[in-house]
């Protein structure tokens, strides 16, 4: 129990080390190039300290509570003894991994909801759009995209199909969808691909990919363990554009009878 508080201290020290270059760049440019006093400097520094403490607590809490259990779970679900009763994977078909797909979907969705950088972008998008893009609507749309992406990525590792088939097909979809999506959402949708995979999602998803790639016959963890993050960054682009298209269509339909 005491160990967790000691770990917390080191995690916070580590976070400070990560933030230092960013703080140096910001204040360096502020004092050397812009040479203007910062308004509300005290408040901003308090904000920085809160972010540091917050990330420290957040990471240490994940490390103590959720990551060990989640990683162990990924190992157990991909264990040959769990997949087939005989413990041999010779006659296993792709659907024998059904619990793995479900786990991939559920863990992709739930970790994305808790992802702090997505929350930040959702808050900003809500402010900028004057409330027409809901914080929850965006987060759920992105989370569904990540969930579908990771389950499909897991399916790819199980079947051993080449990664680029999926990614290139995904690109074609994104380009076609861009032509029809409302203009206001396009940049935000592209952004939501990059914000989904950070602190919470990556460690758990990496454990899942590694577990699968090292147990499925014919896969190598070095070559096939990668690619899940790519799926998780591509599919939210589609789901966010779909969310905007769906809400636009709904607004149009509800206006129809009035005409």
């Amino acid at each position: 129990m005491i160990q967790i508080f000691i770990d917390l201290f080191f995690t916070i020290v580590h976070t400070i080390k990560d933030v230092l270059p960013i703080a140096l760049i910001i204040f360096g440019f502020q004092f050397l190039v812009l040479r203007k006093p910062i308004k509300n400097l005290k408040k901003i520094i308090t904000g920085f300290i809160l972010v540091l403490l917050g990330l420290g607590f957040f990471l240490e809490g994940l490390e103590a509570a959720l990551f060990p259990l989640g990683k162990l779970m990924a190992e157990q679900l991909t264990d040959p003894a769990f997949i087939s009763a005989s413990g041999s994977l010779e006659n296993v078909q792709w659907w024998d991994y059904k619990w793995v797909y479900l786990f991939a979907f559920a863990i992709g969705f739930s970790t994305t909801i808790a992802e702090p950088s997505l929350l930040a972008v959702a808050i900003k998008a809500n402010q900028v759009s004057a409330g027409s893009i809901g914080v929850w609507g965006l987060r759920i749309a992105v989370a569904i995209g990540v969930a579908i992406g990771i389950s499909l990525g897991v399916f790819r590792i199980v079947t051993g199909t080449p990664l680029y088939w999926y990614i290139v097909t995904g690109y074609v979809f994104v380009v076609i969808q861009t032509l029809y999506a409302p203009r206001l959402i396009i940049a935000l949708a592209y952004d939501s691909g990059g914000v989904t995979t950070s602190t919470v999602t990556v460690p758990l998803v990496a454990a899942l990919g590694l577990g699968l790639a090292s147990t499925v016959p014919g896969r190598s963890p070095l070559l096939d363990g990668f690619g899940l993050i790519a799926f998780a960054s591509l599919f939210p682009i589609m789901s966010v554009m779909a969310y905007a298209q769906l809400s636009e269509w709904q607004v149009k339909r509800s206006k129809q009878p009035l005409k």
């Binding site: 190039v33 929350l119 998008a125 935000l188």
Partner: protein
């Protein structure tokens, strides 16, 4: 008393954000794997930590990261020096990426893959220099991406042309890049943007778009993160071809 209630509400909101993970892990542990929850006390304390952390982070976001990003965007816009703005954009992209722990991990793994695939000599020294070169490559590409993204906001060019151009670049590189590097390259796009970079860069983009006449913060302000996740894929494949 009133502020105490406000804090409680904020904590409850964070707990709600965390609920899905707790439910998913609990369900799989108890119902599918049919095992008890180990170290219950420690896990409960960890969840309390995560809730406190998320609450503090969101507060700090609104007090510190968002305002500084916007203040700097306005200051650069009113100063009118494009050169320094682009330098700042590059420094922000490069500086936040080069020390990113997730990138250091991925670069290490990539070096192992390269050694196993006989692309480089299988020794510690050559792996280290391969990993270091890869980190610098990705950091330069993110710096370049943020710089290009900022330039796009100033010019008001539509983002989709850049993204589609980037996709074409990725596809072309995929054809020529060594097979071993493709998975890592695709993943590298997702790991570059950290939890502190995202709010800062978003506030910078939105702040720039709102301070320049004729730009719409919704259409023009977003998109910097998208650039930062796309360019590393191209640069990492190029690195795999050259080294």
């Amino acid at each position: 008393m009133k502020s105490l209630k406000a804090i409680l509400i904020l904590l409850l909101e964070s707990l709600r954000d965390l609920m899905p993970i707790i439910v998913v892990i609990g369900f799989f542990q108890l119902a599918i794997l049919q095992q008890p929850i180990p170290n219950f006390g420690e896990i409960a304390l960890g969840i309390v930590f995560v809730v406190i952390g998320l609450t503090l982070f969101v507060q700090g976001l609104n007090m510190g990261l968002f305002p500084i990003g916007e203040t700097m965007a306005y200051a650069f816009a009113s100063k009118g020096s494009l050169f320094w703005l682009l330098m700042f954009a590059f420094a922000l992209g490069f500086g936040t990426t080069v020390a990113e722990p997730a990138l250091i991990a991925v670069a290490g793994e990539a070096a192992t893959v390269a050694a196993v695939g006989n692309m480089i000599e299988n020794s510690e020294a050559s792996k280290d220099s391969y990993a270091f070169g890869l980190r610098i490559t990705v950091a330069v590409s993110v710096g370049f991406a943020i710089m290009l993204g900022v330039f796009r906001i100033i010019k008001g060019w539509p983002i989709q042309y850049f993204i589609i151009g980037g996709y074409i670049g990725v596809v072309i590189m995929t054809v020529f890049a060594p097979k071993e590097i493709i998975g890592i390259a695709y993943d590298s796009g997702g790991v570059t943007t950290s939890t502190i970079t995202v709010p800062l860069v978003t506030a910078l983009g939105v702040g720039l778009a709102s301070s320049i006449k004729g730009r719409n913060p919704m259409i023009d302000g977003f998109g910097l993160i998208a650039f930062a996740s796309l360019t590393p894929m191209i640069f990492v494949m190029a690195y795999g071809m050259v080294v």
